[in-house]
Symmetry: C2
Subunit: 121 residues, 2 copies
DNA sequence: TTAGATGCAAAGGGTTTGCAACGTC
DNA sequence: GACGTTGCAAACCCTTTGCATCTAA
């Protein structure tokens, strides 16, 4: 993965933002630095940065994906307005509320390479 | 939420399946019971069943959503082939592998209603 | 030099939606 | 009878992709 001006700026935008931007939000911020950057470039870089584990994707329950710093923390996501709240102090025993947010359920996902895919190539 | 033949069958398909079907997969199975059911009806019911917390949505990293029983368990998701493996015995301390699957990272999401949305209506 | 990256625009495709007819309560 | 639900098809819109050009290494 080469280092390009576009890729560096996109990574910097995500690393310095706490807004959990979607792809278009990243695009808008990137245009402030590179006015003629294309949305396709933003999408391609978001994908490659995520594959390289340099950023994270969040599915917030809406129809678009959102992007986040690669930093050890968890999320509360509102199922009504899709707000994402960072959690740095998760106490996982009997979480019924987090701060003043009502927790209805939780999801834990382990991500990785399955047994079959490890065998390939 | 009314009880309809379509909705009952869709719920039954998900409750009796361990395949983590996507919407089209649910549609195909539903057509075996109701040949003229429409894909729109499947989508609408998947959404309303999920809002009612009767089923769960899984984002597997591909471009489509997948649906799952509402039962207390967790998932391993392969980032290459998007296979989903049910986890019933998660030991959350230092998970580097789950069975023979290589775990690269994990995500914990609490879902619920945020403080602001609780005030509305 | 050359393989990967970009800009542009069009295509793709999963999901949503408008509407008339239907079914549930 | 009122209103939620369905079937159908079209629209939506987020995301991907083909291609010529550019650029990092």
């Amino acid at each position: 993965m080469r280092s390009t001006k576009q890729r560096n700026i996109i990574l910097d935008i995500i690393n310095s933002s706490y807004e959990h931007l979607d792809a278009y939000g990243v695009y808008e911020k990137a245009r402030e630095k590179i006015p003629n950057i294309s949305l396709g470039t933003v999408y391609r870089n978001l994908n490659s940065l995520e594959n390289a584990h340099l950023i994270n994707v969040i599915f917030d329950g809406s129809d678009k994906l959102r992007y986040d710093r690669n930093e050890n923390h968890q999320h509360f996501i509102c199922t009504k307005c899709h707000k994402i709240i960072d959690i740095y102090d998760l106490d996982f025993k009997n979480v019924k509320t987090y701060q003043n947010n009502l927790v209805m359920n939780y999801k834990i996902v382990l991500e990785g390479i399955c047994e079959e895919c490890q065998k390939e190539e």
